[in-house]
């Protein structure tokens, strides 16, 4: 029982991180219909930025976090402007290849600067462990969960209540119509990318605090998992990303502990396959029929 609770907690911990990243995937997909394969690399960049701020420049933690978030948000916007915007009318597959190219580019640049060897991420979360029902909950887990839930609530309010949030939803429904209604589509897309990347930065810091070895390729594995989470929940749907993230995290953690420490990835991706077979557009998606 204790083992189960512990694994469940681990699952919720990693699930919260997946959810934060999945939000970025889902928002970008919703608005640009693009599987942003470079999104995983933002996590990696975030981790390295934090690492430099603390290990090299010895900055205070809060300032480092702010710098990391701003740097990633900016990077997200720059990538969009440089690589995706010129291709907005191109075929989807070209856009996808560009995103993949972007992902390789960030990986190789960071590999050239920091080498392929892993670096140890500094301890930035200093919260003591808590004991609940004989199960130790680490400070990291508590912080991760609270930060993630806080950000999700803020994001939800932002998207539903603010003018910018409404224009984001309008652009994702129909960008042409949104433009005709006087919405600045370019600005909205930039904002979406910056929010998604900021969330990825936070996710990167949280992830590296729990698993403190960082390398230039860390982003692709987490990225694909988080993307899988977004699809399981229904890509383009914000609550879907959160649901998918937690489901995936818990399944991964439990199957690692109870089924096989090798096959857990296969189980994670089989979950994806089964979900799509039974719910072709994800758990929370509404079925849309093509008009004839």
């Amino acid at each position: 029982m204790e083992l189960f609770l512990m694994q469940l907690l681990n699952g919720i911990n990693i699930g919260a991180i997946y959810a934060l990243i999945a939000l970025g995937y889902t928002m970008v997909y919703g608005i640009a219909k693009l599987i942003n394969f470079a999104h995983g690399e933002i996590i990696m960049v975030g981790s390295y930025t934090m690492f430099i701020c603390i290990a090299t420049f010895d900055l205070p933690v809060v300032l480092s976090i702010i710098i990391t978030i701003l740097a990633c948000a900016l990077l997200g916007v720059v990538i969009e402007k440089l690589a995706y915007k010129p291709l907005r009318n191109a075929s989807r597959i070209s856009l996808l290849i560009t995103a993949i190219g972007m992902s390789y580019l960030l990986q190789s640049v960071f590999q050239l600067i920091f080498s392929a060897n892993s670096k140890t991420f500094p301890q930035v979360i200093n919260v003591s462990n808590v004991e609940i029902f004989n199960v130790t909950v680490s400070g990291n887990q508590i912080v991760t969960l609270f930060v993630a839930i806080f950000l999700m609530i803020v994001l939800d309010l932002f998207v539903r209540k603010t003018k910018t949030g409404k224009s984001m939803r309008a652009v994702s429904e129909d960008s042409g119509a949104a433009q005709l209604m006087g919405i600045n589509v370019n600005r909205t897309i930039s904002i979406t990318f910056s929010i998604g990347s900021a969330l990825a930065a936070v996710a990167g810091i949280l992830y590296s605090s729990s698993y403190p070895l960082i390398n230039p390729f860390m982003g692709s594995t987490i990225g694909i998992k988080a993307f899988t989470a977004a699809v399981i929940g229904g890509i383009g749907i914000i609550p879907g990303a959160v649901l998918g993230g937690f489901i995936l995290g818990i399944i991964e953690s439990l199957s690692k502990a109870y089924i096989s420490s090798q096959l857990y990835d296969a189980i994670v991706f089989s979950t994806l396959i089964l979900t799509l077979v039974f719910k072709p557009s994800g758990l929370l998606a509404k079925h849309k029929k093509e008009k004839v």
Partner: protein
């Protein structure tokens, strides 16, 4: 009024030219090999080109002609590689050319079966969801192979007879290309292309779109499996991580750069992308960087209006000097 005359079903001149090219390329490679100009290293590159060609042409069937984005092609290659290798290692006593051919066919058929297993449920999905499910499928295969100790697991499957030669690889490239070209120029090929153009109209014209999607998927998987088998018998050792997401993407990139649904383009792109990095070996640490920049650059340039005008002009020029052009009846 001029009398309308239709093109011949197969252009004989073109066919002879292609056969001539196939023979000449083979003869040149053989001559250079016996002259010692093509050494072991170059031979290896040529075989890699052949393997990639089979993969790219087969993926072109699903992604180019059928119009369904697939991100798990390397998964089929993996199944073919392991199945063929397993056969070869188990039945060492069968005399060589036969053993190799049977191994490749088994690899192809196993990959095809996998293609059917994933294809039947996956093809209910549209667009990006199909891409995602094939991505997931590729990862599942990789993980399962990693955990199977009987075929080496993460350490790799070793001791596969290294029997792949340029000739055998070349023969299968030709078989693949000819198969795909002839299939595409038939009622089956037209059905496949019509699905990528407009599924609803295709169905309303009497095409069983599920059958054709599965058919294209199965053929693509079959040839990917063959490519895997050739690869396994060339390397002598195979590891699951070779067949991951990055390999699938590499194949997809070649298809896209070559222009989807174009065999000539695919062949050129494959040769270029396989050979260029080898020529830049001295800059090996910058290889990925250059690859990434090229990808982004090509995509951006392709959609730059100035470049498009240029391409249009080039096309018109090519059409002007095209030796196969029919004479206009004035």
């Amino acid at each position: 009024m001029k009398k309308f005359k239709l093109k011949k079903i197969d252009n004989k001149k073109k066919t002879f030219l292609y056969i001539f090219m196939i023979v000449v390329i083979y003869a040149i490679v053989m001559a250079l090999t016996s002259a010692g100009i093509i050494n072991r290293y170059y031979n290896g590159i040529l075989i890699t080109v052949c393997i990639n060609l089979i993969l790219v042409v087969s993926l072109n069937l699903t992604t180019g002609y059928l119009g369904q984005l697939t991100l798990g092609h390397a998964g089929f290659m993996a199944i073919g590689a392991y199945a063929a290798a397993y056969f070869s290692k188990t039945f060492m006593t069968i005399p060589q050319p036969f053993s190799f051919i049977i191994a490749l066919l088994i690899g192809g058929v196993m990959a095809m079966i996998a293609g059917l297993i994933i294809g039947v449920p996956a093809l209910r999905l549209k667009g990006d969801y199909l891409a995602i499910i094939t991505l997931g499928f590729g990862e599942v295969i990789k993980t399962i192979l990693l955990s199977m100790a009987i075929i080496g697991g993460a350490k790799g499957y070793i001791g596969i007879p290294r029997v792949t030669t340029f000739t055998s690889a070349y023969v299968f490239v030709i078989i693949t290309i000819v198969f795909v070209c002839l299939l595409i120029k038939s009622r089956h090929g037209r059905a496949i292309i019509s699905i990528s153009e407009d599924e609803i109209a295709s169905e309303a014209s009497g095409i069983n779109i599920v059958k054709y999607k599965i058919m294209a998927f199965a053929f693509a998987a079959f040839f990917a499996g063959i490519a895997g088998g050739i690869y396994a018998h060339y390397m002598g050792i195979i590891e699951p991580k070779t067949f991951g997401f990055n390999k699938s993407i590499e194949i997809l990139v070649m298809v896209v750069l070559g222009g989807m649904g174009s065999i000539n383009g695919a062949v050129i792109a494959t040769i270029a992308i396989t050979i260029l990095p080898e020529m830049l070996r001295s800059l090996s640490q910058y290889r990925t960087l250059m690859y990434a920049v090229t990808l982004i650059g090509v995509m951006l340039y392709k959609y730059d209006p100035r470049v498009q005008v240029l391409m249009c002009k080039a096309k018109m020029f090519c059409a002007k000097i095209n030796p196969f052009k029919r004479k206009e009846a004035k």
